[in-house]
Amino acid sequence: MALLRLVLPLLLLAALWEGAVALLQISPFYLPPLRQVLGAIWALGPAYAQAFMVTLGEAVAGFVVGGLVGVVSATAFHHQRWLRDMLFPLFVASQTVPVIAFGAIVVLWFGNTLLAKAAIAFYLTFFPVTVNALAGFEAVDPRQVALLRSFGASRRDIWWKLLLPSALPRIFTALRLSAGLALAGAIVGEWFGASIGVGAMLLAALFNEQVVAMWAAILTAAAVGGAIFGVVALVEARLVFWRDEL
């Protein structure tokens, strides 16, 4: 049933694509038929699979570390007002640096490595998570905290049993948003001279005006984004099952 809900829109989109191209006689330069794009992926299966895995690895590494750093920073900011007053403005300022500029610097530092791409994905991920986790912690009912304290709970107990679970809905909202951002970060990272990965493929296709290859790269990128998003949504459904019922 859940599978159907996932597959049905995809099929619908595919049909729309094929139908539009055929009916409106769209030039392949603007939008090649889906069959052709899938055919290209099929023909070079291993290459696309490799690009998928490489970009996924970069994005996930940055995403996971970004998520963790986000939650940890939010925890620190929540408990230590001075830390928040001191560091939060820096967090905000960091986000005003355009990701392209940040990417250039990172690649300059770390070269064409997985670390460089993960760092860019991280850069786009940690901020929304920090902001949302902090908002989640701050929104906890102080009476609830008082109740736990009356049981003799330590700060750590309060964090595990109350603050973190309460903030999870907001943290996951940020994570879903960050799934796409982490992918964008990884792709931007690849644009500075990487030879494998979805971003590298995209750029190569663009330079060579291979429209079909470009769309194939775009589909692969969508698959990477969809994979991360899907896992996040699955974990969220397990952990935050109580959200809709609030």
Partner: protein, 277 residues
């Protein structure tokens, strides 16, 4: 010391000890929030195993008093709070049930009930077993795995009460546990609480706005004055236990009620006048 004096001394000691054995003793407890004097010199003693009900106009400082006894708020200097005769840190020593049920939506009934036990470091499985065994007593049999969102208001309160009972402390503070319930559910819950209390035998301090409830439940009713809150009146309720609803229409009940109504009304008028001024 002469023999006679010695004997007298012993008599006095024996005669006094059990009565003076207060579970909780408040001496001159005050609390100010900025310009607002919430509590002014509250003196109150509660004996072991006693069920004391506390009534008073809204905003007179009842919840503040509870927060102090639960160790969540400091009393202003000068007052003292003695638990079992000692002025110790109160956090973790008193089973406190706040005005709202404050159940956690991601925990089912059993897991909400064992929250305090878990914080104390009791193994989850053992705590769950205890809770499962208690569920029937609290009218929650068959609902152990339900989530708070799936429960009625009365059931949610019972889960909160069970959580409070599972936090195994001699002194329980219940802040208007039935305030949000409809009259019928409320009457049922009152009888049920008395039943539970007679079985689990704890010392209970119970806040309510309802005079009938205060008399029906309590060994003693304490009336607080309008803000700044202090003890205006204490009235022992000599009605026999176990009590049943027929009691509410007896002359003895009504006599106590009249007495308390006068006091409460006088204080409520003061609050009202202060609000209008």
């Amino acid at each position: 010391m002469t023999d006679a004096a010695d004997q007298l001394d012993q008599l006095l000691t024996v005669g006094e000890a059990p009565a003076a054995r207060a579970k909780l003793q408040l001496n001159g407890v005050s609390r100010r929030f900025g310009a607002v004097q919430a509590l002014a010199k509250v003196d109150l003693g509660i004996a072991e195993g006693e069920f004391v009900t506390l009534i008073g106009p809204s905003g007179c400082g009842k919840s503040t008093l509870f927060n102090i006894v639960a160790g969540l708020l400091e009393a202003d200097t000068g007052g003292e709070v003695l638990l079992d005769g000692a002025a110790t840190s109160l956090l973790g020593k008193v089973a406190f049930m706040p005005q709202r049920d404050l159940l956690l939506p991601w925990r089912n009934v059993l897991d909400n009930a064992i929250l305090a036990a878990e914080v104390e470091g009791r193994p989850k499985r053992a705590a769950r077993e205890t809770a499962r065994a208690m569920a029937a007593d609290f009218g929650l049999k068959g609902f152990e795995d339900h989530y708070p969102q799936q429960l009625s208001g009365g059931m949610r309160q019972r889960v909160a009460l069970m959580r409070t009972f599972m936090f195994d402390r001699d002194l329980m503070l219940l802040d208007e546990p039935f305030g949000a319930l409809d009259a019928l559910t409320r009457a049922m819950m009152q009888r049920w609480l008395l039943d539970i209390w007679s079985r689990y035998r704890r010392t209970i301090l119970f806040i309510t706005h309802d005079i009938d409830e205060a008399i029906f439940l309590g060994d003693r009713v304490v009336v607080m004055s309008a803000r700044p809150g202090s003890i205006k009146l204490e009235r022992r309720v000599e009605l026999p236990r176990p009590r049943d609803p027929a009691l509410l229409t007896t002359p003895a009940f009504n006599a106590i009620k009249r007495e308390l109504l006068d006091a409460v009304e006088e204080e409520s008028m003061k609050t009202f006048a202060a609000g209008a001024a």
